[in-house]
């Protein structure tokens, strides 16, 4: 199927590309289908809603920016996402873009956990109080390219 993204891209996706968020995301409970689209040459991706063109998030691999980031997935979530092995799991965090871009933050308190084998995903709200919704991406980790 053809998907028009929020960022004016037209891409072709197939059923296997669609991530199912069975409970939606907090604040977007009706949005249950997304695709994760890597932005080539960057550590970022967009998490684009399949049903709502206007809904897309920027995400990144948190372990690139926060080396010590660590959380345990509670058993009920493992079950919901049918996770059997750690290697089935892809973690992204949603970014809140700030000016300047280097001040943008990642929501480490609610990572998006994806079972890449089953295409099941969930934004998991961590309960251990270790992380917050806004962690500044390390300024030294990203630099502007020319142009």
């Amino acid at each position: 199927m053809i998907l028009h993204t929020k960022f004016e891209e037209i891409i072709e996706i197939c059923e296997e590309d669609i991530l199912r968020f069975e409970q939606g995301l907090p604040g977007f409970e009706d949005e249950k289908h997304f695709v994760l689209l890597p932005m080539e040459g960057t550590p970022f991706s967009t998490l684009q809603s399949v049903s709502t063109k206007e809904l897309a998030f920027f995400t990144t691999n948190p372990f690139l920016f926060f080396k010590d980031y660590d959380f345990e997935l509670i058993e009920s979530v493992q079950k919901q996402l049918k996770i059997e092995e750690e290697s089935d799991v892809l973690v992204q965090v949603i970014l809140t873009i700030q000016e300047p871009l280097e001040k943008s933050t990642g929501n480490l308190q609610a990572p998006v956990v994806i079972n890449v084998k089953e295409n099941l995903a969930k934004q998991v709200v961590l309960t251990d109080n270790k992380y917050r919704t806004r962690h500044v991406l390390l300024e030294t980790s990203i630099v502007g390219q020319e142009g």
Partner: protein, 75 residues
């Protein structure tokens, strides 16, 4: 809203399999023990609200930031 008065160690049962126990009371802090089936998600409300709020702010993405992010490079 249903209002019930409970003492220390007393329990409220909700439906078949959720129980709330008053574990301790210290000034204006009440410690509650919750036992519920594993598929029931339990959150401090303010945490859940802050996630909702952060998501709605994170969703205000634009094509301009999309272009700007594309120019950033991981080192």
């Amino acid at each position: 809203m249903l209002v019930l008065t409970r003492k220390l160690q007393e329990v409220i049962k909700i439906g078949e399999d959720i129980e709330l126990t008053v574990l301790s009371i210290d000034g204006d802090q009440v410690k509650l023990g919750i036992s519920a089936p594993k598929q029931i998600e339990i959150h401090r409300k303010e945490v859940f609200l802050s996630i909702q709020q952060e998501n709605s702010q994170a969703a205000s993405t634009s094509i301009n930031t999309f272009q700007a992010l594309k120019k950033l490079k991981n080192t």
